[in-house]
């Protein structure tokens, strides 16, 4: 009886150990395909360089059939970012549009499509996208205002460009770029009355 009890205890201990190692094996699998795609886009955005397998990683993320709508939208944004860094603006616009189609509330997709459209000299559409990103309460609104300021400036609307640079500077006083741009402007006010 004692032996049977001991054998059971050893068997249970073995199962527990197996369970623990199985749990650990899940942990060491590393980031998911979507996280890899996201990291690749962030890295490309920081360095201005797209890695050899980055687009393929994001292709796989975009094409995964069992992903959620949110995952697909984010994967499109990140693949679009890779295209944008490569200067492939047409492909970037298409990916950001797919992201918006999948998730119309994804503010970063509007911001990024605005950047791609602006690179194509389509400033009116770019301004519309930046405005939509702000309406959707985009994270880092200072960056969106900065982008819209550049689009306004490129479209010849210096007054609105100035106001958006000023708004970006107000939202993020520690960011020197808006202040630098404001210094280029020579502004006056109409006398009161």
């Amino acid at each position: 009886m004692f032996k049977i009890g001991m054998l059971s205890a050893v068997a249970i201990a073995g199962l527990v150990a197996f369970g623990a190692s199985a749990q650990e094996s899940v942990t060491v699998l590393g980031p998911s395909l979507f996280e890899e795609c996201s990291s690749a886009a962030a890295q490309a955005q920081r360095t201005g360089h797209v890695g050899v397998n980055d687009v393929e990683t994001c292709n796989a993320a975009v094409g995964r059939s069992w992903s959620t709508v949110g995952e697909t939208a984010v994967a499109f944004v990140n693949r679009g970012t890779l295209h944008l860094v490569r200067g492939e603006n047409d492909k970037a616009v298409k990916d950001f549009s797919q992201a918006i189609k999948a998730d119309p509330t994804l503010a970063s997709a509007y911001n990024d499509r605005g950047v791609a459209l602006s690179a194509q000299h389509r400033q009116a559409e770019a301004i519309s996208d930046f405005s939509q990103a702000l309406t959707l309460k985009a994270g880092n609104a200072d960056q969106v205002y900065f982008n819209r300021a550049m689009a306004y400036e490129d479209s010849g609307d210096l007054k609105r460009a100035y106001l958006d640079y000023r708004k970006a500077a107000e939202l993020n006083p520690g960011w020197e770029q808006p202040a630098r741009q404001l210094a280029r402007f020579n502004v006056s006010h109409t006398p009161a009355g």
Binding site: A42, N78, G139, N140, Y162, L163, R184, V187, S188
Partner: protein
Amino acid sequence: MRLVLSAALAVLLVSGAAFAGEDDEILSDLVVVTAAPRPADVKMVVQPAKTAPAEKQAKAETPAPVQDDQKPIKTASK
């Protein structure tokens, strides 16, 4: 009670109108005379999206957060 509510509503309407007209006022008051050319190295900021936690992905309602250490990238014009 009705009087108080009406007064509160009037205050809200007036302040709302004032807020809505603020931008227009700034625009009409402001005259940008000139702007020096923008340096070529000033670039727009791209916001890559982070993969959201599973429960948020299902709802797809929350815009993905953006990292603070983002820097402008070079985008090629066509």
